[in-house]
């Protein structure tokens, strides 16, 4: 795929194709072209640099959205379990994930954790690893443990790919992902500065493309998009500016994302596809790359519900985001039965109340088809802020 000098329309069409392709044609083509392997991972974050350095393609999987009818997946989960594991299982048992040679299940919640065990039982021929992340952030305690975890992951990835991974290869991968994180920051900065130039629908699809595309290709795509969109003339809108919070795992359907924007909200900050933005600063490229990745994880990351907040200042990170992006309110959107997002929400709401920041909340599922009520709710939220500055 060559994005050079593409128009916004062409770039977004490419992203739409990637988003809609549950057969992962890009992954299959990449494997064929590179004679390589692919490793899928669940939300939120895995150190993709290690998979990449082993010559494999890391691919973020975020369920099937509303693109796939769940026929067999429901038989694996009770009605009170969220949707993402169902559609992931559905994709797997309908052979759509056959192109993945391994799967990583990062620690985010008990459902994804248990899914890792299900994977081991259901697909014993495939590599599957549950990845624990430190909740202790002292370098000599949690850092040391995480460093050990990364050594194991590197060893496993080298075995899976059949290639020896050198320190230089790791450093090179870190550099490429640093570039990608930098260009994504630029994209978010532009969206925050001129939200009418970067509609959420487009930004979202570009972020979803980061799950699939080889990192350099994605970096080039974002650069192309930034170049193209800056020269576009797009109408300004009388929308309010909001931060969207709680969408870090199971994703809202694309139509819901559009509906939010059409209801009068510029989303100027969000937490979807958060893994691509998890590390806030460039990872050091001198010295031991695994130690550098471990150090980056301990500090200078986003704050999100699956990560313990040591300082106890729950909500302060969200409030900082509101201030940084000059948002006028927060929309809490959480998948039904999502423990991390829903347990986090009352604490965040309490902090917003104290800071006098308006918010509204709703739940969704990736397969929802009806958004009228949500659209009316967020539309009313937008109107009340426009009219009275609060709700």
């Amino acid at each position: 795929m060559n994005n050079t000098n593409s128009t916004v329309t062409q770039i977004i069409e490419t992203c739409e194709r990637l988003y809609n392709d549950l057969d992962f044609s890009y992954v299959k083509n990449w494997k064929q072209t590179h004679a390589g392997k692919a490793v899928g991972f669940m939300p939120i974050y895995v150190p993709r640099e290690i998979v990449h350095a082993a010559g494999m393609l890391p691919v973020g999987l975020m369920g099937a959205g509303d693109l796939l009818e769940i026929i067999k997946g429901d038989a694996y989960f009770q009605s009170y379990i969220c949707q993402i594991p169902r559609s992931t299982i559905e994709m797997a048992i309908s052979n759509r994930l056959d192109c993945f040679d391994g799967m990583l299940f990062p620690a985010i919640c008990d459902v994804i954790r248990n899914l890792s065990g299900m994977w081991k039982l259901m697909f014993p021929e495939k590599y599957a690893r549950y990845m624990d992340f430190p909740q202790n952030f002292r370098p000599e305690v949690g850092g040391e443990y995480y460093h050990q975890e990364l050594i194991i992951l590197l060893k496993d990835m080298a075995t899976l790919s059949g290639a020896k991974v050198t320190q230089d290869q790791l450093r090179q991968s870190v550099r490429l992902y640093n570039e990608n994180r930098a260009v994504i920051r630029e994209l978010y900065d532009l969206r925050s500065a001129d939200p009418h130039l970067v509609p959420t629908y487009e930004l979202y699809l570009i972020m979803r493309a980061s799950n699939i595309l080889e990192v350099s290709e994605h970096t080039a795509m974002v650069r192309d998009y930034l170049g193209a969109v800056r020269s576009e003339k797009r109408p300004e809108r009388d929308n309010i500016r909001v931060v969207l919070s709680g969408v870090f795992c199971e994703q809202p359907p694309l139509a819901l994302i559009r509906a939010l924007e059409n209801s009068g909200c510029f989303i100027v900050e969000d937490d979807w596809v958060l893994g691509a933005r998890y590390l806030l600063k460039a990872v050091a490229t001198e010295g031991d790359p695994l130690e550098n990745l471990a150090a980056a994880y301990l500090k200078d990351t986003v704050k999100t519900a699956s990560r313990y907040e040591e300082d106890g200042a729950k909500g302060s990170y969200l409030i900082d985001l509101v201030e940084k992006t000059r948002a006028e309110g927060v929309i809490f959107a959480a998948p039904s039965f999502c423990d991390p997002a829903l347990l986090e929400r009352p604490m965040q709401q309490e902090a917003l109340k104290r800071a006098d920041i308006p918010y509204t909340s709703f739940k969704y599922s990736e397969s929802s088809g009806q958004f009228q009520v949500i659209k009316e709710q967020t539309g009313t939220f937008a109107d009340s802020i426009k009219l009275w500055g609060s709700v």
Binding site: A75, Y76, F77, Q78, Y80, I81, P85, F105, A107, I108, C109, D110, V111, R113, N114, L115, S116, G117, M118, K120, L121, M122, R129, Y130, M131, D132, P134, Q135, N136, R138, E140, V141, G142, E144, Y145, Q148, A305, S306, Y308, E309, E310, G312, K314, A334, S336, F337, C338, D339, P340, L342, L343, E344, R345, P346, M347, Q349, E350, K363
Partner: protein, 430 residues
């Protein structure tokens, strides 16, 4: 000989002893601060009772408060109270019950107010919700929090690195905070004595649980089991009273074993053992007696359960070990049932079905406990495939009475027992 139902709850000496232990503990808690005792809130799985007691501090377990509230029919109100504060109907009802109780004055099961914590000891073992729970409680209390992260057995084993990580946190994070809170240096000799005591009680508990291998089983390892694990899973492990409780209980069980008697239930002794079951998942607490009665009426005895392993698995050989106090505490935390990966859970349940000669197994799937529930339908299939024993599946909740539908559960159980009956008859003909 049929099973009698007197209406009056029959109690053995061990039950009365446990009642006194609990009453004394809550009495001590109610005057803890006046008595200059420090109070540690912590969770049951991966609890560090020996360490807490080595510092002469008193533990409070929020899950125990929640289940006690449910048994006293107070949880519905507490949950409603928490939901008023924005807690979702979708999340763990233990959390909401605890938050609601706190917002309603924090009155404990004995009617006395629980003391505020001096320390929140977040033993993050086998349940993601624990992390959020103490983040929520931290908003309410002005006290330090110390986190003990216990890595999950994702690959079905405890590696030396995992043990080292937990032990290091104990030495470098937990103990220094406890020393600061309590004002005392850790007395390692005292800790070792407590660990030795734990090991003795654990051995007695294993004998009690394994008595269910006999036919008829002298115990019910699920409904009765929750009483049997009470002291060792909560505030008493490591204490002489705990050892005494298990000595008394063991002698009661051995006595029933000798006489060929079945378990004691609230409805009276269960003398006829028709079905032997293994149960996966926690019980429902809001209708605990009614739930148990459904089994009693069918002469069904639970011979092994996974719920009685959430606060530690002892029947596969683990004992607290005073020769390596911190490593031993680490291995204990790492080995709790909900910290096992799904394949290991299935292996353990399969072993129980075989070792305890079960006729079948039942999964009580709990709406608000994803740690247990996610993956249980696969557990059902795997166990049926591996053992050929029929599995039953019912759904309820921990402490939210809105999710305990007695009629539905009874219907399902009756159908399940009919199926078991026909399987048993088929087997006897063949």
């Amino acid at each position: 000989m049929g099973n009698s139902s007197s209406g009056k709850v029959q109690k053995e000496r061990s039950m009365l002893l446990q009642k006194v232990m609990i009453a004394n503990h809550f009495k001590k808690l109610s005057t803890a601060h006046a008595d200059n005792k420090k109070v540690v809130y912590t969770f049951v799985p991966g609890n560090l009772n020996e360490l807490i007691r080595a510092f002469d501090m008193l533990p409070v377990h929020p899950e125990i408060n929640a289940l006690q509230s449910a048994m006293r029919k107070k949880s519905a109100g507490y949950i409603r109270e928490a939901e008023k504060y924005g807690h979702s109907e979708d999340v763990c009802t233990y959390v909401k019950c605890d938050v609601g109780m706190l917002k309603s004055g924090n009155i404990g099961p004995t009617g006395e107010k629980l003391p505020e914590p001096d320390l929140l000891l977040l033993s993050y073992t086998g349940c993601f919700t624990f992390l959020k729970w103490f983040e929520i409680l931290r908003q309410e209390y002005d006290c330090p929090v110390v986190v003990l992260q216990v890595p999950y057995q994702g690959d079905g084993e405890i590696t030396p690195e995992m043990t080292a990580y937990v032990a290091k946190q104990l030495r470098e994070e937990v103990v220094p905070v406890m020393e600061k809170i309590s004002g005392n240096k850790l007395d390692e000799e005292k800790l070792r004595r407590l660990l030795d005591s734990s090991a003795r009680a654990e051995s007695d508990l294993v004998e009690i649980l394994e008595s269910a291998r006999h036919k008829p089983s002298p115990i019910d390892a699920y409904f009765g089991g929750v009483y049997y694990i009470g002291p060792i899973f909560t505030a008493f492990r490591g204490l002489e009273t705990c050892e005494e409780y298990y000595r008394v209980l063991r002698s009661e069980v051995e006595d029933r074993l000798k006489k060929g008697q079945g378990p004691i239930t609230p409805e009276g002794p269960l003398n006829e053992e028709k079905y032997r079951l293994v149960v996966e998942g926690p019980p429902n607490w809001t209708s605990f007696r009614e739930f148990w009665k459904m089994f009693h009426e069918e002469s069904a005895v639970v011979v092994a359960s996974s719920y009685t392993k959430v606060g530690g698995i002892y029947d596969t050989g683990f004992r607290h070990n005073s020769a390596e106090p911190f490593e031993s505490l680490a291995k204990y935390c790492l080995g709790c049932y909900t910290n096992l990966n799904l394949p290991s859970r299935i292996d353990l349940l399969e072993k129980y079905i075989r070792d305890y000669s079960a006729d079948g197994f039942l999964i009580n799937s709990i709406k608000s406990c994803n740690s247990f529930s996610a993956g249980q339908l696969l557990i059902l299939r795997e166990l049926e495939d591996r053992t050929g024993k029929p599995g039953g599946f019912i759904e309820s909740d921990l402490v939210d009475p809105r999710y305990f539908s007695a009629a539905n559960i009874k219907n399902r159980l009756e159908s399940y027992f009919q199926m078991l009956d026909s399987r048993i008859q088929e087997a006897s003909v063949n």
